[in-house]
Symmetry: C2
Subunit: 279 residues, 2 copies
Amino acid sequence: MNYSELFEQIKLKRSFLCVGLDSDFDLIPDHLKDTDEPQFQFNKSIIDATCEYAVAYKPNLAFYEARGAQGWIELEKSVRYIKEKDPSIFIIADAKRGDIGNTAKLYAKAFFESSLFDAVTLSPYMGRDSVDPFLSYEGKWAVILALTSNNSATDFETLKLDAASGGKELYREIIEQSAKWGSVDNTMYVVGATRPEKLAEIRAYSPDHFFLVPGVGAQGGSIEDVSKYGLNQKCGLLINISRSIIFADRTELFAESAHIKAKEAAGQMSAILFANKLL
Amino acid sequence: MNYSELFEQIKLKRSFLCVGLDSDFDLIPDHLKDTDEPQFQFNKSIIDATCEYAVAYKPNLAFYEARGAQGWIELEKSVRYIKEKDPSIFIIADAKRGDIGNTAKLYAKAFFESSLFDAVTLSPYMGRDSVDPFLSYEGKWAVILALTSNNSATDFETLKLDAASGGKELYREIIEQSAKWGSVDNTMYVVGATRPEKLAEIRAYSPDHFFLVPGVGAQGGSIEDVSKYGLNQKCGLLINISRSIIFADRTELFAESAHIKAKEAAGQMSAILFANKLL
């Protein structure tokens, strides 16, 4: 899927919602825990309840790997289920990978050939050869960590470089360098919702790229602020909401609650898209 | 396992060899590919052939994840096999993880509770809260990427910070900051063998930490150079060799060849330990 196709989906669903399938086994409703495939059953219900409003899903792999091989099986089934339901839904493997060339190549193969993911989140620390293999797949995306939503993002990401190294903050150097490796059709940046003022700055020097924005909901960011500072002329935003949708309710009514929360978020987004003449 | 216990193992085996179990399915001998558990069968033979000389093993998870759930099963079996063979062998999950706090906690649980790993490699980009959960397990280690062995390591890792941000190269800032999060008993750094001159510099300001050194063999680094610049008074080095041991020979004689190559490497290390009065 390229940039324009993703924007088409956003217009079609009137939403730029990404639902984070951080389906922590400990948090899924008790009545599902005794089923054969608890994470898949949970995801299936969440997907059914939210796919009308979600242009993207983003499972964080940690929540599946924590259950070993069985977690992988249920993740794979969840990904296939989404694509069977609607092949135009964008699926991001939140894996935060980053490894030397030959290993990165193997990860790219795993996510883009063996699995049906459209995108993978990547840590940029090791540089270009850790990202390049992901950019060689037509229609697939590298989602590069830039300014993350966690408190410790200021430990290293925001350190300022000296003049000879470009004089910018590290995350900006990463965005500007890596933008040259691929294109707006295969490179996206993670920019946390918890620092909306930074989002405006980043949008100024990165006007065309899509941003994947975590940190709305449980972490405190808001759809309004993110949209105010982050929207571009083709939307350019995927706002990820996880816990406050999928764990809005932990009883047998979890899917209904997730539906309501996703509808609310998409409603806000729809109004924002209209107000900005993007619909 | 703490620092002293790891040093004891090094003295016992007269070796600081870590064998990288980068057991790429495509590269394992053909006669194993048709067995039920090709990666496990391959690893089992490699472990049997090298455990006399290896104080540590380091499977890179990419090579297992590339095969989905089955890869995870075979990785788990390999890890258990090592610990059954010799519980004092140090096992490093080369996972290069790095995620926000609640997710990092889950990864730590997966590697240290569900699995028998002693250590995990971590990408430091997201800062302290992505590393802390790994430091809360007694006897377990965080192995933090500092200066990696790949060509693109110079894209970001070696950028110089401005005076207000400490004035050092990024990887040095990461080493010096993160050294305060844990101790020499639970924190180790990845420093590539491909830049031995840098190893000497790092050893000067990080005299006591263990370094995990990849890049010897196929990537061009040498045991002599790494030892010359990296040894400390308690060894302080684990040199990882992967392809040039495990894929020294890709016929049915692969295990014998791996044995010979591991013995050679350990022989060199033994001489170095003697020469430096560490034995």
